[in-house]
Symmetry: C2
Subunit: 546 residues, 2 copies
């Protein structure tokens, strides 16, 4: 079983397999396992050992799957898809246990010598509702055939007692932390490298370090004990270096605990599949389960269920993939489609395309555009100030230099149109120009770099789109026949298009890192839309010489 | 079936039920359905109709579940947990179909008159690998017993043809958009309110509007057709107003399509469960599936699988719950525990607690603290500038006023310590003071309001913690015996603690809205840690009169 950390953008997923029963009620069994795998971004497969007809109140029927069909499912998964980790849950009866063990041994030759890497065994015996989930005759087969293959065993206290009793080990009841340690060590002698002995049934008083008696635990809801007075201890025993680790957990007086054991072992398997070291995996899995209980769901009339999806939030912008290299920009262009079209297909642009734009409008535009560039450079200076790395500051500063250079070219180009430099710099900024540039500066001052980037983007991207479209459109009037042909060429040129590509790449990278929430995405849209509308009013101003 | 939009913080989840087969390979069947429900934050339950031994290459075995056990699972779910929406997938054979229909009718009396609200039927017949998933004799039972109950039917083209052939309807092969419309209308006559006829098997040429022939479709990988030349059309027919809607989708040349149909119907059910109007639900579900295909997973040697968890990102900070009202602050205090302890248990604080702090150190501290407050007020003024709502600006301005008021009290308090006002304002800022306050201002200028809040927080929260702890600690020297008792009282006082509570509530609200990514959370931690370390050096400076 390989468990190498993979890059998140490679679409070979981490894989985890559950071999367990089905809980129609969705809170436990393979259902809990698959939900956990999914929430932890791991591809889940499943081998069903038995079906239960079950809800939050009771298990009212069990339909064991024929053992050979269990083996067939396991073969189907391992022979084609494979897996990075496996967990077993409810194994139902001796025949199924034997079939599972035999098939595992076939696929993992290492099992002849010891545990299978990343095999987690949750020795499910009794449902939290009280139903027996393992035939009493099956325990011996479990001990003899599964435990020797097991890497991590995750019993709770009653399960540990039951296994040890049947293994004829010397340990009796588990009533203290010391008992837990003896039991964990005895269990490891049966095969597992690691034993995670779960203390959920054995709360300790913080003050005295004494455990509740079984009678106290049974009637805990009637006792006047504050939650805060108690602590749960999960004990991790690593037989490889004979070491113990205690995980102290708050005791939560909640009934949303259906599926806790399944979920924990599934989370351990998922983290192992992702390549985490086993103690790290157990710790993270414990945290996942505690949160899932704290955020538990009120479902049905009995015990509520864990919230398996507490761990995730919806992705507001799709992931970058080969089919979708620019998810942020695509999203913005879709969200602002109407305004974007008004901007990029403005009558001013049409006049550029067919050469019919009045000369005075173009001259008016050129003067204002020069003034625009001054503040546009400042906006990039602001970016250089707000950057948190030298590389970012450098990138913004380079754009300032680029704009300064463009601005010189602009002067020369304007001279050819008879626009005098002194007159140009003395021109008052039009209201549309003030509105646009100061809006960009305000976003830059109050927002972060991504927001500044989006305020700048409509100018950058829009001119790039317009330049490309007009250059490639057969209807465009070209060459000497169009006084604006040089303008079109400038925005179609490789250096401008390169700047557009870099700008897009920057925004996409920022968005991928930031994973903006839905709420924040709305704000980003609003910035992009407003700057787009300001471009429209810049064209209006230019066309009508306002 | 109720489907009222619930507040996300109420822990009664949206519920969806799948009645379908199990795919051990995890890509289709109830596995795909449960993964979809989970990714869409809906609590999934499942009734398994049959087990398949399956991987990405083939279905090599089917184990139908006894029909009475299927009914028993369905009873267990509906009698206790209930559901807001249901989807059916592979129903296997006539007996099972009959058992499902009969049980549904028992729980939904409305079925006597027409479709069951939010029942989505995916008429699964053939796996994408080619295996037959419905006994040929069962189609009639499906038509007679399930379709009349169905709210949304989601066949693909071959399934639509097969149903219509068996229903002895007049439609023959579906080869054009017009054929699709006729078929959808004919299918709706069999019961469903809505028919979503999926066009995945019938790509159209964008240029001509003509569909590929079945022969072309079979050999599509060998033809020199660019993906971009083709479009897929999903047709939605609503029989309630006899209207059609076309969903145009890009044709993706990918083999990661195993489980597409299951996933789509599951996503529709999840969105219906969340209370979305049905056309909206179908549209959103279509988007979810397209993204899941685009982000498809390379799994096994056959057809790859959809990426069901493309839709979510890990939650970096736990959700606010009754067990966990301050997840952000808890996270920060855990992440910066060492620095935090050094700050709140500094020798300076110890000296305050037992009254042994040298008088000169306290006077030095009081002078610098007065200067600190000046810049601290400015930092809140910056917050008022960067706020995006009047309410936020007002809240920051109120804190400025509060600090100004405190600053006056500070002067009076200092007079009693013999500190002259003129001398105090003439004191140069210590380096520790400059470092701290300018760091806060820089964060405020370059970051957003949450970042500013975190730079301010260690001062606000730490003094509150210290005030509470010293006030309640029996070891604290109290009253006249401790020259610093008044200082302790001030930070334990209700008005200061109220400000702490409001500050925490603000940060938690911002964090909940922003859902910072893991990457951003690291930055937030860094700010909180740095400001905490600056508090430590402020104590050092004060104690040693630097």
């Amino acid at each position: 079983m390989s468990s190498v950390k993979q890059e998140s953008h490679v679409n070979v997923p981490y894989k985890a397999l559950t071999i367990a029963g089905s809980d129609s009620g969705g809170g436990a069994g393979i259902q809990a396992d698959l939900k956990t795998f999914t929430a932890l971004e791991t591809f889940g497969t499943s081998v069903i050992t038995s079906l239960t007809s079950q809800n939050t109140l009771k298990v009212d029927g069990i339909h064991p799957v024929p053992a050979n069909f269990v083996a067939q499912q396991l073969e189907a998964v391992l022979s084609d898809i494979g897996t990075n980790a496996i967990k077993t849950g409810m194994l139902c009866n001796a025949e199924i246990i034997h079939a599972v063990a035999k098939t595992l041994c076939k696929f993992y030759p290492e099992s002849a010598k010891g545990p299978i890497q990343n095999l987690v065994v949750d020795p499910v015996m009794i449902a939290s509702s009280g139903a027996a989930l393992l035939d009493s005759s099956a325990i011996e087969t479990l001990i003899q055939e599964i435990l020797p293959l097991c890497f991590v065993l995750t019993p709770n206290v009653p399960e540990a007692e039951y296994i040890l009793k049947n293994a004829a080990a010397q340990t009796s009841s588990i009533r203290s932390l010391e008992d837990m340690k003896l039991a964990a060590r005895a269990l490891a002698k049966l095969g597992p490298s690691i034993v995670l002995l779960k203390g959920g049934h054995l709360p300790f008083f913080k003050s005295t370090g004494k455990a509740l008696t079984p009678e106290q635990f049974e009637t805990i809801d009637d006792l006047s004990i504050e939650m805060e007075e108690l602590v749960l201890i999960d004990l991790i025993y690593d037989s490889r270096d004979d070491s113990f680790e205690e995980q102290h957990k708050e005791f939560l007086r909640t009934s949303s605990t259906h599926g806790t054991g399944c979920t924990l072992s599934a989370a351990i398997a998922a983290y192992l599949a992702q390549g985490l070291e086993v103690h790290h995996a157990i710790n993270k899995a414990g945290g996942y389960v505690q949160s899932a209980i704290r955020d538990g769901l009120t479902v049905g009339k009995g015990k509520g269920c864990l919230n398996h999806y507490h761990h995730v939030v919806p992705r507001s912008i799709e992931r970058q993939t080969k089919y979708n290299p620019h998810p942020l920009v695509n999203h913005l262009l879709r969200a602002c489609a109407k305004d974007w079209h008004e901007y990029t297909h403005h009558p001013f642009v049409q006049g550029i395309q067919d050469g019919t734009l009045p000369r005075e409008s173009f001259i008016h535009y050129m003067k204002q555009d020069y003034l625009f560039l001054q503040t546009y450079a400042r906006a990039h200076g602001l970016g250089a100030f707000k950057a948190t790395t030298m590389a970012e500051s450098k990138a913004f500063a380079e754009i300032v230099l680029h704009i300064a250079h463009e601005s010189q070219l602009h002067i020369k180009y304007c001279e050819r149109w008879g626009i005098n430099y002194e007159e140009m710099v003395a021109t008052p900024e039009s209201m549309a120009n003030v509105a646009y540039t100061r809006y960009v500066l305000d976003i830059g001052m109050t927002g972060d770099l991504l927001e500044l980037g989006l305020a700048i983007a409509p100018c950058l991207l829009g001119y790039g789109q317009i330049g490309n479209r007009l250059y490639n459109d057969p209807n465009t009037v070209r060459g000497d026949a169009n006084p604006y042909w040089e303008w079109i060429q400038a925005y179609h040129a490789a250096d401008y298009q390169g700047a557009v590509d870099r700008g897009i790449a920057n925004m996409e990278r920022q968005a991928a890192i930031q994973q903006p929430s839905e709420h924040r995405l709305k704000k980003l849209e609003e910035i992009f839309r407003t700057a787009t509308r300001l471009e429209v009013s810049f064209w209006d101003m230019s066309l009508h010489r306002l």
